[in-house]
Amino acid sequence: MKLCEFVAAEAVIPDLQADSKEAAIRAMVASLAKAGCITPQDEEGIVSAILKREELGSTGIGNGVAVPHTKHPSVEKLIATVALSRHGVDFASLDGEPVYILFLLVSPPSRPGDHLRALESISRHLRNQSFCKFLRQSTTAAAVMELLKEADNNELP
């Protein structure tokens, strides 16, 4: 699955200001709502579901990356947004380090396969140090999307 297929360009946050896990998740879900990917009525429910999921165990999977997510019946297809934090967010990550790159996913309960394929794609690309480095250097949503496209096309070193 290609990153550009599920990351909503209009919802990318190139300079996330949040300094806590909850604030980061709220800002990212709000960005999805602002971009029209979810309705404002569903915003709070999605935030709550994601926070509840984090209580089961952090999605900060190390290397400065977190993948907060939930399934929610209000979406018809998998949607995601990316946020970049310059100062890092304390996400209670597995390796105890702050996170700088966040991928937030909302997927329909009926399509668990898509969720797995998106995780596989995110994981595969984020292991590439060049991808992570260039991503953290991106300062605009357009630059982020351009980089995701390059990653999708295997154009990165």
């Binding site: 579901a49 994601i50 997510h69 399934k71 597995l94 668990p112 969720h115 797995l116 995780l119």
Partner: protein, 108 residues
């Protein structure tokens, strides 16, 4: 790592992903955390894809869906214990089912 490859026996077992949503972040995290406690080398295979079971990143790349049959392969000083412990995790569905059922929209 303290094992000596030439002297160690490889232990293998076929395990099945019971998790309703497959091997997503939570089971991968629990599996990697459990595997890391052992000194043995622990691999998990999904067809041609191979993962170091101590790495969440590796495990996520298996993209193993519900019902997938995986090959657990362990070699090293504590291999029999590791094999039993990890196979039991698969058998118990990582204890995930109980948690998920209390959070219908919070998933995985």
């Amino acid at each position: 790592m303290s094992w000596i490859m030439a002297e160690s026996q490889v232990y293998r077992r076929r395990v099945i992903v019971k998790a309703e949503h497959g091997l997503h972040i939570r089971p991968c995290t629990l599996l990697a955390q459990a595997a890391t406690k052992f000194d043995s080398r622990i691999r998990l295979g999904n067809g041609a894809k191979q993962a170091n079971a101590k790495s969440v990143w590796d495990l996520l790349e298996l993209a193993a869906g519900p019902g997938a049959e995986l090959d657990l392969e362990v070699d090293g000083p504590d291999a029999p214990d590791a094999l039993e412990h990890l196979a039991a995790l698969f058998d118990s569905d990582f204890g995930v089912s109980a948690s998920v059922s209390t959070t219908p929209s919070g998933d995985s």
